[in-house]
Amino acid sequence: MHIVYHCRDGLINSPLAAGIHLGLLDPAHVPSEGELRALPFYGRSNHVRGRLYPAGTDEKGNNVYTLGRSNAAPFVIKLLSTAVPALFDRDDVLVFFDCDVPGGGLLSSIKCLGRNRKMSYGWAVKLASCEYFRLVQVVQNVRTGLYS
């Protein structure tokens, strides 16, 4: 199974969710700037939207990915899910989880300013931390749904 965490830009929320899923981040406390910087797939500058970035493999052997899909979540999910059997003759299962929280579009845009160094990185992290526990909840729901 391939577990895909997706968000609008694929830079902040989905890497955070993947980090929580893989046990790289502690769900009990908001990660520090250092911890975030240490995440290998967080806020990368050469990020391409539409590309699946492998984040790692979880304890059940499922591959975890992050994905930035602009505002076209239903389109990308439909395309990838139907292309697996139709174009690639495979029966792999892809499961998608939306990491965008309500009202996150604005926050996401502001965070992108941080990424582009037009705003301090620390502020971007503080804004990301507003959503951290909601992301923890998303990941916990995912894990409960998949593994229990």
Partner: protein, 164 residues
């Protein structure tokens, strides 16, 4: 190998290109209005069909032919498919993507928009059919070019197999 003819809504140009590829329309003869309208899936898709590859048939070499609409997300869709191929360990060389949007004229685009987006079928369908008839030569040359290229690849591959 799979051939995917892609356009905006997989309702017109990709359907006609796949019909030419599969021999359902002759490349040297402009189709009539009724021939176009009788094609399976011509001007008959809905908004939610965008993003779903549709199997149209197998050509004389046994290659599967698909149509696909990528809406206004063509670069995103293309990147997503290439990335998926990588993730699955498949080769994108086995899936040939052919863009048909560049071959059609404004009449087809406006007619397609009227018919599919605004549901003004009595106005849109004749307009899109007339537009497709006008750009049929370009569509036919595109498909002929694709077939020639596929034949060349097949020959090279069989030559390589023979040499091995």
């Amino acid at each position: 190998m799979k051939i995917v003819y892609r356009c905006y809504g997989r309702a017109h140009s990709s359907v006609v290109a796949s019909a030419i590829h599969l021999g359902r329309l002759r490349p040297d003869k402009k189709p009539t209005y009724s021939e176009l309208c009788n094609l399976k899936f011509f001007d008959a898709t809905e908004r939610w069909d965008i993003g779903i590859p549709t199997f149209m048939g197998k050509d004389d070499m046994g290659r599967e032919v698909f149509t696909l609409g990528l809406g206004n997300q063509r670069p995103l869709g293309q990147t997503a498919l290439e990335s998926l191929a990588e993730v699955l360990g498949c080769s994108m060389y086995d899936v040939v993507m052919v863009d048909t949007l560049g071959t059609i004229n404004w009449s087809s685009r406006i007619g397609g928009f009227l018919s599919r987006a605004l549901k003004l079928v009595p106005i849109g369908r004749p307009l899109v059919a007339s537009g497709i008839r006008g750009s049929f030569g370009r569509l036919a040359s595109l498909v002929e070019g694709v077939k020639r290229e596929l034949e060349r690849i097949d020959k090279e591959e069989s030559h390589l197999r023979y040499r091995r």
